[in-house]
Symmetry: none
DNA sequence: CATGAATGAGGGTTCATTCAT
DNA sequence: CATGAATGAACCCTCATTCAT
């Protein structure tokens, strides 16, 4: 409980949340993640939160506002590490090698995912269904993150650590591999047994060197 | 129209579909893909299909039955290429190199995705929300496909074309890369300009050799 | 089956019933008796009868027509014994004593009830709910039967076998006792163990002499 | 109106009923009694009650719950006079003669019926159609009432006021006569002219001494 | 602030009935 | 004759939202 509260407060920073509001948010997250926004009724959320139906609407004018209140901060937190003002500087000094940068990013985003599993699930599931969300996502996340990441890629290409292919391809493949791993790990097969350290390492190595074995050459 | 019909008939093979049934399915696919199953009303589907609402329920006992009627065949078609009885034999003879196999698979599944874009979207979106679908997916797709794929991987590992890491990691990373590409290309950023041949080739090369440039070595 | 058919044919005399019509009637009777007219759907009847939905409406223009087709003949059969043209004559000669007449009537109507249990149930249940039925009942049954019965009562009062109270009271109390017995026996508690002969006899004796024991006098 | 309210409140004792709830109950009783439960729509009840349809379902989860809310208290009230704890004692002292007991019961139950005419109609009509109601009725009414009544009968048999036939026959015939009268009077032919006191008295006399006139003897 | 009764539009589904085959 | 696909009104019920308390 206090554990949950902490996370909620942390996510919703800036806002002062009453006790009831917190319970509403927590219940909504749970239900939205499990059954989807559309299949979750406000009365259900109210009941689960131990709150009157009207109370929800005192804090969030509409049901969709409640969704946004949940989803928007996750987007913000998700972008944050990529747009810290002096990211470039920091990066170059901290991570001499692309490999190290990848490793750091994977771990950093993994921590985030673990902390915000349900909320990210909602994000992923609802974005394609709500044009407003899609827009929000494109503007605030996709573009900003992509811009930063492109610069990073170009930096590592400039010093020969990454092959010379279009930056957007590099970005796509890197993201695909890292988030493909995280999604498989935490969302598709969370109940399987995972050797997290080994898989993370393998994923990084895969991004760097692929799967080719000694006899892979075609000629 | 006749174009659409063809695709529907092809997908729902085995079943004899009346004209009205086809219209219902087509309308349902469109709406489910756009707004999600839960947010789509049967009356809306009926209107779009130019059919009385009762007609839907003559053919599909419940709304969920309609969803299953749409989603089940896609699953079947999706698995099909992986479980052709003599897949192994064929593969070994046709694709001397893993690279060629990957390329073939990517193209094959890409064609499938292009043809069934909306339906696959529905599949991807609804699976996490419906336990029955999740079960169906696990049994019929995940397991069967994985089994086959694992054998293929082991075959190419045996002759040294793939590095010796756990087969499931190879499978995960391969799938992640290929479907990551397809999802980005056709579902997330379909409106961007894509040089499909080049991206496909890059993706294959990435899977084989990763991103490492000449100076990537850390020591 | 052939047993059932016989009874149906017998009840619906005059009409030529096709095989399907008979099945429809039988199914309708079963369902109407069990769940009531209103709660029984035509599709349910069709299914139970092994007949297409449309077939019902070929024979009976509306659902209510089907009800009437079932209920009207029972009314007719029910009245029949009371309005045989020469009832009076017959009676006077056959039954010197009122007691014997009662006994005959009880047995006669009991046989009828046993044969038409479900249909009578429907009759009893639906009459209060359908003004047309109520009208039918009043005109064809209540009045005609009452008239005859009144004459009979007056006859037995004239020769001192029945006390001199208003005929309608005699009719009411007689009917109440006889049908009260039959309803209890066959409709309310059919599963209890009944000594039919003894109960019938007791009922007749009750009508004749009441319950008073030797010390019943109040003064 | 205030008259109606009184009766409703009295019937639904224990429950606090809002104004709207009362209107719903009153409307439902009216419609159920007239057309039967199954043929009455919730929208019709709502309209008649001057209430939104949703309001009905806020107070009664289902339509059947509404039926039960109406019917259950009538059952309870109906049994009540029979199961007053010290019924036996009271009876024996108050009613030296069975005849007086009968007379008291008839009047008592008549008052009840007059007050709850519509509701009893519903009860009588719906019990055969709903297994739950049938069960409720058997457990709470039939059994409890029968037990008490049997004891009373045995008491009057012991002192010779009632002839020595099986108690259940006495019970059946007494009930049949009394309720046969009440049903005829208030449910079948309410619009006829009745001399209530005379009919009541005749009914009691009938139960006590039957219909036999001076020349009724068969030998 | 919090409540929960009230709303009425709309949800999925069933209905009696029609009609082309 | 018999069929069963098609209909659209009506069914019971749930919904997001409002507002007097």
């Amino acid at each position: 409980m206090s554990d949950h509260d902490l996370k909620i407060d942390e996510l919703m920073d800036g806002e002062e949340l009453t006790e009831k509001q917190k319970k509403i948010i927590i219940s909504a997250i749970e239900s939205f993640a499990e059954k989807g926004y559309s299949a979750t009724s406000t009365s259900e959320i109210a009941k689960k939160a131990g709150v009157a139906e009207g109370t929800i609407f005192r804090h969030y004018k509409t049901k969709k506002d409640l969704l946004l209140a949940i989803v928007a901060p996750v987007m913000a937190k998700f972008v944050a590490p990529f747009i810290i003002k002096d990211l470039n500087k920091v990066l170059h000094q901290d991570y001499e090698h692309f490999e190290d940068f990848l490793s750091a990013m994977l771990k950093n985003r993994r921590d985030f995912l673990v902390k915000n599993l349900a909320t990210v699930k909602i994000l992923v599931q609802e974005i394609p269904l709500h044009p407003e969300l899609k827009e929000l996502f494109k503007e605030h996340i996709a573009l900003k993150v992509y811009e930063r990441f492109e610069k990073i890629v170009e930096h590592y290409q400039a010093n020969g650590q990454i092959i010379e292919i279009p930056a957007y391809s590099v970005v796509r493949m890197t993201f695909t591999s890292i988030f493909g791993y995280l999604i498989a790990r935490y969302m598709l097969l969370p109940e399987a047994e995972w050797d997290d350290e080994a898989e993370a390492e393998r994923t990084i190595q895969f991004i760097m060197h692929g799967l080719a074995g000694p006899n892979s050459s075609k000629n």
